[in-house]
């Protein structure tokens, strides 16, 4: 006769409540879901879920409100940093962040992000860079790599006619008003864990009224890169990190995490 094992059940893992219990609509291998999960963890750990206002942008990123159960306002294309300025100035006690892709932030919204950063608005910007306009079908983006083929650069991006991809984290780090600027990736467990720590810092800065924090995520878009999820992940770890190096480019704390 086997004896029933009598032990008290103990929960060792839970999903943050802020994460919606729903199936993803994102393509296989897309990194948005990982970034959402990190955001959920960070807001949960900092205990600010009920204080947070999310500013959604235009592109695949807009659907963040289907996955994170937060007060959210949609912004016009590229204007998230200006909308967030209005939100934060109206409600300084709220934790405010924008969630923007590379076309949104680095092309049509370049003016808004530069000036919000330069004013040192006490907000957090989450920038997801996958080197293409994803939702519209994979066109040339401000961060498309030289030589990268897209639907509007079918021979590959030309440095001569399109210029070089913008390194936003470095550009933002160069502005005196910025408190924190860092680039992370979520292509492997090690990088995901590091990204979570850096993202947490990006929000903790705001909670502590330190100022403008910018966190760029390198992200895969297998569908528009015409790659399998595994190939896309490898591209992030190789070609992308080579050009867009990971790390903290500005930290007024200078504590090296």
């Amino acid at each position: 006769m086997t004896q029933a094992i009598q032990t008290e059940e103990k929960q060792v893992f839970r999903l943050p409540d802020v994460l919606a219990d729903t199936a993803t609509h994102f393509c296989p291998g897309c990194h948005h879901g990982i970034v959402h999960r990190l955001l959920a963890d960070v807001l949960d750990q900092l205990g600010v879920v009920q204080d947070t206002i999310c500013v959604a942008s235009v592109g695949c990123s807009v659907f963040i409100y289907n996955y994170l159960l937060l007060d959210t306002v949609e912004s016009p294309h590229g204007r998230a940093a200006a909308v967030a300025t209005g939100v934060k100035r109206a409600n300084p006690e709220n934790v405010v962040f924008t969630y923007q892709g590379d076309g949104d932030l680095a092309a049509i919204g370049l003016s808004e992000i530069m000036y919000a950063a330069n004013r040192g608005e006490n907000m957090t910007v989450v920038f997801v860079n996958n080197t293409v306009y994803g939702m519209t079908g994979g066109q040339l983006a401000p961060t498309t790599m030289v030589g990268q083929k897209t639907t509007t650069s079918q021979q590959g991006r030309s440095f001569e006619t399109d210029g070089a991809p913008l390194k936003m984290t470095e550009i933002i780090a160069g502005l005196p008003g910025v408190y924190f600027s860092a680039r992370v990736a979520v292509n492997n467990v090690k990088n995901i864990k590091k990204a979570g720590k850096i993202l947490k810092k990006g929000f903790a800065n705001q909670v502590q009224h330190k100022g403008f924090s910018f966190v760029e995520f390198l992200a895969a878009c297998p569908t528009n890169w015409r790659m399998t999820p595994v190939e896309a992940n490898e591209r992030v770890g190789g070609e992308m990190i080579d050009y867009f190096p990971l790390g903290i480019f500005k930290d007024n704390d200078n504590d090296g995490l």
Binding site: V49, T72, R79, A82, G86, R89, A90, N91, Y115
Partner: protein, 357 residues
């Protein structure tokens, strides 16, 4: 500054700024442009003095989107500009209309198209009454003709914006913005009670998260949303506002709004001294347009002449309003010319029914 019994000599632009403060405006977002720059100049000090927020944005576009953000938090907020800048704000205004956000936008209209001039113009009538940006939406529009009315209607604009959760435009021009008149700043600063804001964002503390959006992708969802918006625009019809001057026995009704309405009133007064049976109808709300009272006047067999400081825009609405009984003549003073009452006497006399035959 003592309220209620104070007469102030101010520019129209300053009257608007004072009206905004009295209305309890909490956030104002600016970008310089002639002929409205007195509004940001005054509010950069006076709004901050009463605890409000002033931001000079990097562009008209950013200022309008900051307005979107502040109104999403349920704040009384405003931006102001002049025609070319208002064109740039249309993106955010369309999003605010779609997301039902109560922003107040002041347009001190100047000549166009393009860089045009800094002179007075009514060339933005179509833009302000037809939506202005993309999609099926309308912005309530109020058109003051004096500095006192600029003050009063700015206060009203905030109330209407929140009543309907819709952008409201105060449409003036360079004459209104730059002329000085005495006003009574009669209203104590509104103390906001935070009621009726069960849609606004503040963080989802002990309640369901709120989402302010204009994106409706699923089958039929956008149609349902637009139906709701259209019902709201219909409900706004009760906000129609207008002035009538000596219309009762008039054979000819001159229709003009804003500064042109003011100038036309002087012309009508002069013609009355010559026993011409002429009256003035001045729409104060441009959207909703006061169709019913115009229709009533038309049913009495009166003639109509529309006077505008543009190439003829409001005349479309006048003709639609009176179409069952009458048509309207049109006399335009093109932007770049300043209208004066004496120049209007001839065109009005020409249009008198007896002469027009």
């Amino acid at each position: 500054m003592k309220k209620n019994d104070t007469n102030l000599l101010v520019k129209g632009n300053e009257a608007i700024a004072l009206g905004a403060v009295a209305a309890g405006c909490e956030c104002y977002f600016a970008y310089p442009i002639t002929p409205q720059s007195e509004i940001p100049e005054l509010l950069s000090e006076s709004l901050v003095e009463v605890g409000g927020t002033f931001v000079q944005a990097e562009s008209e576009i950013a200022a309008a989107n900051m307005l979107l953000g502040a109104t999403a938090c349920g704040k009384r907020a405003m931006t102001s500009s002049s025609s070319p800048g208002i064109a740039l704000k249309q993106e955010a205004i369309s999003y605010m209309a779609g997301s039902q956000l109560p922003g107040v936008i002041v347009n001190i209209c100047r000549g166009g198209p393009g860089l045009g001039s800094i002179d007075p113009s009514q060339g933005d009538y179509y833009q302000t009454t037809r939506g202005g940006g993309h999609g099926d939406y309308r912005t309530l529009t109020l058109a003051p003709a004096s500095c006192q009315e600029a003050y009063d209607l700015t206060i009203r604009a905030f109330d209407l914006a929140f009543l309907y959760r819709n952008p409201v435009v105060v449409l003036g021009d360079a004459i209104l913005g730059q002329m000085k008149e005495p006003i009574k700043n009669w209203k104590e600063r509104v103390v906001l009670d935070g009621k009726g804001l069960d849609w606004s964002l503040s963080g989802a503390r002990n309640r369901e998260p709120r989402l302010l959006k204009s994106l409706y992708l699923s089958d039929g969802a956008l149609a349902g949303h637009n139906r709701k918006l259209q019902e709201k625009y219909q409900a706004m019809r009760k906000e129609c506002d207008w002035e009538e001057y000596r219309t009762q026995d008039a054979e000819l009704i001159v229709v003009a709004f804003g500064s042109m309405g003011r100038i036309a009133k002087s012309a009508v007064r002069k013609l009355r001294e010559k026993n011409e049976k002429v009256g003035l109808f001045r729409p104060i709300s441009l959207y909703p347009f006061p169709e019913a009272p115009l229709d009533r006047l038309a049913a009495q067999g009166k003639g109509f002449l529309t006077l505008e400081n543009n190439a003829g825009q409001m005349v479309d609405d006048v003709r639609l309003a009176i179409r069952r009984h009458a048509d309207s003549g049109l006399h335009c003073v093109l932007p770049g010319h300043l209208a004066n009452p004496d120049d209007l006497l001839g065109p009005i006399e020409e249009a008198m029914p007896a002469k027009a035959g």
